[in-house]
Amino acid sequence: MSKNNIERISGRAPDELRNVSIKAGVIKNADGSALIEFGKNKIMAAVFGPKEVHPKHMMISDRAIIKCRYHMMPFSTDTRKRPNISRREIEISKVIREALQPAIIMEDYPRTAIEIYIEVLQSDGGSRCAAINAASTALADAGINMRDLVTACAAGKVDGQVVLDVDDTEDKTGEADMPIALLPNTGLITLFQLDGNLSKEEFDKALELAKTGCDKLYKLQRDALSEKYFDGKNGNKEE
């Protein structure tokens, strides 16, 4: 697929991911955690719980509630971000929570809260997908019962070409970005967003391409968890 195509600024093939590394168990005080480096993205996710629900009236008698916050540090962006939570961060927190929730077996934890905190320390294109991969790994690291890992990757359009995993340099001239999150076992897309301009053909192609990215991230998550729990017998780097 990578031949006969316009060259990407990054030198990557159209279906090529940026360098990705995932490390589980990076925050001692958390019940589960992960650090993902995804291109220039550096994102940490931590999971606390299942724990007591506060305030009490939020408690649900037959399952856990899931809280999720996506937050960017002021130094993570090109221009310093103000410390207050922005509307963009509130929206992304919501779509990430809705992407992760179907994977969590909430019925196993009635009357509790599971908290997912995502901290963007350095941002690049695709930070919400990177965040989902980190959070999914952190949930598994926390030992939360899950139906599946949640894996996420974007496809987009740059210079008229549908490509995998748009980075922030490409994004400046990019024509479309379509992040998705996937539960591989069930084939369910649990996050889907689109901004830009895609024909029907490009739309379908972008979906397929994003899926191939998700498959790679799925493996990287599993490797990161193996690395932590089985002495790193599996590799953890995408070349």
């Binding site: 084939g187 689109l194 830009g196 029907k200």
Partner: protein, 275 residues
């Protein structure tokens, strides 16, 4: 922090009726799975204080949109571009489930998805909103009030905002001796396309369009796709903690275009009648 919240309650009889109807590919209000509810679009309903306005009723969901065009300093990094802001408000009159106060995550999502549909479609040519580079640009405020809530606000808000923008005018300015001067003339906004939003929901593996409040509450997943008149997909957003398969999304994308074209005709008609 975003978290699970109190939701609309759908009683078990309604739930069962909705599901058993869907099993027969019909809906409780007798629509087909891919039928929109009755759509009424009225223009000029706020003509004394706005530059453009529209009221949309989609079934029992009712929203009012008003456009205000003011002038402002441009942002330092885009000195030759105008500014556009889209803000939807869930008024507490619209439902017993809405409390007054700052917008919650659902309202913020509604505002931001409406904003992106307009922005990403290039509906407004923001380069044409420059009055004097680096000094003065038009600032277009799109405010939408939700008056009565019965599901699928993403589409209702989008139609109202789009129609109001199509109806809107703005002052003309000229530059004399390096000074910006307002003329006693109006001009329409620089409109380049008409994006149309379509929203789908999934209940027990059935895909329906234009969910009402009960359907929306029961759905495991919701997705909005916005298309422009060239048949391009310009914006999309999945919601709710469930998912769609790849095949479902592809199928939805086909219907979105067809339905979008039908609704675009209705918007253009309302604008024509109102002008």
């Amino acid at each position: 922090m975003p978290a699970v919240k109190k939701h609309r309650i759908v009683d078990s009889i309604t739930r069962e009726s909705i599901i058993s109807n869907l099993a027969n590919s019909t809906r409780l209000d007798e629509r087909g799975l891919l039928d929109y509810r009755n759509l009424e679009i009225e223009t000029n309903i706020l003509k004394d204080k706005t530059n453009g306005s529209a009221r949309v009723k989609l079934g029992e969901s009712e929203v009012w949109a008003g456009i205000k065009v003011e002038t402002a300093n441009p942002f330092p990094d885009t000195p030759a571009e105008g500014v556009m802001t889209c803000n939807a408000e869930m008024l507490p009159i619209c439902s017993q489930y809405i409390e007054p106060g700052p917008p919650d995550e659902n309202t913020i999502e509604l505002s931001r998805v409406s904003d992106r549909g307009i922005r990403e479609s290039g509906m407004i040519d923001i380069k044409e909103l420059c009055i004097k580079e680096g000094e003065r640009v038009y600032s277009v405020y799109i405010d939408v009030a939700v008056i009565n809530e019965d599901g699928n606000l993403f589409d209702a808000v989008s139609y109202a905002a789009t129609t109001a923008l199509l109806m809107a005018d703005m002052n003309k300015f000229t530059i004399e001796n390096d000074e910006v001067k307002m003329l006693d003339e109006k001009q329409p906004l620089p409109i380049k396309s008409v994006p149309v939003s379509t929203t789908f929901a999934k209940i027990e593996d059935k895909i329906i369009i234009d969910p009402n409040a009960d359907e929306q509450e029961m759905a495991t997943a919701r997705v909005t796709l916005v298309t422009d008149e060239n048949g391009k997909y310009v914006s999309g957003q999945k919601g709710k903690p469930g998912g769609f398969t790849f095949d479902e999304l592809k199928e939805i994308s086909v219907i979105s275009k067809e339905k979008g074209d039908e609704i675009r005709v209705k918007i253009r008609e309302a604008v024509k009648n109102g002008s």
